[in-house]
């Protein structure tokens, strides 16, 4: 177990190194002249040369990569072209808002997905099952920005139950979290349904039934915990999908998180910010997967035994 853990940690570190290599290439090696992009259009040749020397862009590529890595480890994500500030500071200031939104979104997604999945599994083949499966397909096929605009139109513009955009109160988080949660719930519903059907067919469930336990107790106490394991792994994998959704949802609802930061950076072709957000998201994805791997054996003793 300890060996396995160590291996996973090393793997995680290597993947992050690879991620850093790719972001470095996209940031410094691909653009024709990063120094000119930082200096802006009206800069003199002298300014550009100064910036080039300051950033070490006149050094060999490997030396540049090494100092880029050193910076990353210390939380230095480079400087924004347009805002002339530290990307790390900009992201750190906006991270809490995004974390709140993600927590709320994942909460809605998992709760709704597990509930629908269980209901569909119990009513397997019936009308409710087919309805849930169809709805999950629609959720998976819906463009997030359209769903976001639709919720905004119905609940903020027409009914005025929630604010149009912004940040600061519980009412502000409802619509963005619902947008992320409702659409994502489809995957969870399908997975929980399939896991529940497997579990419900097992002998120990039949034994529980034979003992005369109530269906409620069998489903929620005996069957569901065993069907939840893939959900844990799914949350880890899902963070990537989620980070993509966050950009769109934050842009539509004016939520002041890193997604909105990235969206504003797109308008100004401010690549260091987009890159910084990508890097932070990649870190979140890798850590999410690692966390899912670490939590799984705590929940399921069968994995511990392996």
């Amino acid at each position: 177990m300890a060996f396995l853990l160590l291996r996973r940690l090393v793997q995680t570190a290597l993947i992050m190194l690879g991620v850093a290599a790719i972001t470095f290439l996209l940031l410094y090696a691909l653009p024709a002249d990063p120094a000119r992009m930082i200096a802006g259009r009206s800069a003199t040749a002298q300014t550009v040369a100064n910036i080039r020397r300051e950033l070490g862009l006149d050094q060999p590529l490997l030396v540049q990569f090494w100092s880029y890595l050193q910076g990353l480890v210390q939380g230095d994500l480079g400087r924004s072209y347009a805002q002339k500030t530290d990307v790390g500071t900009l992201i750190a200031a906006r991270l809490p808002a995004t974390l709140i939104l993600m927590a709320a979104g994942i909460f809605v997604e998992v709760l709704l997905g597990v509930f629908l999945g269980v209901v569909a599994a119990i009513r397997r083949g019936g009308f409710v099952d087919r309805l849930v499966m169809m709805a999950s397909f629609v959720g998976v096929s819906a463009p997030q920005f359209v769903a976001a605009l639709l919720l905004l139109y119905v609940f903020a513009v027409t009914l005025a139950w929630f604010p149009m955009s912004g940040f600061g109160s519980f009412a502000h988080v409802v619509l963005p979290a619902l947008t992320l949660g409702i659409l994502g719930a489809g995957w969870y519903a399908r997975m929980v349904r399939s896991a529940m059907i497997d579990v419900l067919n097992q002998d120990y469930v039949r034994t529980a039934r034979a003992k005369g336990l109530s269906s409620f107790r069998i489903i929620f106490r005996h069957a569901l915990p065993n069907a939840l394991l893939p959900v844990i792994a799914m949350i880890g994998i899902d963070i990537g999908q989620f980070m993509s959704g966050v950009v769109v949802v934050e842009a539509v609802y004016g939520w002041p998180g890193i997604g909105q930061l990235a969206w504003q950076a797109i308008q100004q072709v401010d690549i260091p910010i987009i890159m910084g957000v990508t890097l932070v998201s990649a870190l979140a994805i890798v850590l999410g997967n690692l966390l899912a791997d670490l939590v799984a054996p705590l929940i399921d003793p069968r994995i511990r035994a392996r």
């Binding site: 290597l14 397909f137 920005f145 399939s194 999908q241 769109v248 987009i274 994805i285």
Partner: protein, 282 residues
Amino acid sequence: MQVLKSMFRQPAALFGLVVVALVVMLAVAAPLVAPYSPDEQMFDGLTLEGAPLPPSAQFLLGTDTLGRDLFSRLLYGARTSLVIGLVANGVAVSIGLMIGILSGYMRGLIGSALMRFTDLMMAFPALLLAIVLAALLRPSLWIVAMVIALVNWVQVARIVYTETRGLVERDFILAERSLGAGHGRILFHHILPHLVPTAIVWGTLGIATTVLLEATLSFLGIGVQPPTPSWGNIIFESQSYFQAAPWLVFIPGAVILLTALSFNLVGDALRDILDPTQRGRG
């Protein structure tokens, strides 16, 4: 033929098939069907105050903020979306097949290096990576397609890798190898044919993902650039106006949803038909 017959028996798959066929036909026949040119800014396409017109007999789905006919723009937008869907996804499935087969078949350094690279690509959030690439490369139709392909091959590679690993262990490959077959023969005559169903299923399901990603990129302003109509940039151009003219956002939105849903339904049905062990799952 057998596949089509099975599809006709499932109402959901049949629905998907009909919608896909309809969208493809309308896209191909766009110049014949469209009542106006998609770029024509019509004087009577706006109210006297300069606002877009809601759906009417003259403009079936209304007009946009520049007085262009929404229905015509959607028809031409279908061409953009489908071309990107086919090209981007075709390239993605090809790359995925190639990398998946090679990493599954070749043990040792090359195989594991390819697989680690795939793992690495999975650590990137697809949309953000696409945004970075699109921002760096200044989008055109083909660039957008390539960006989407570069982001979307990963999943296919993973699945093909797993299947290839399974196939390589099977006895008929061992038999073939002991008969003296070379790598090329084993790969192209024995492994590749087994992967055709996977390629077909992902070739279909992937179009849904691609259409959604293209729409999202265009919605963020870094996909297909106006005036070329695409379903995403039609919404992008009128999103700030959506309170006054909701049809400009929700009609294209419904079209995107319906198209993605249909490709998903057809792909899912194909998976059931081509791989009975997966029936009723995921």
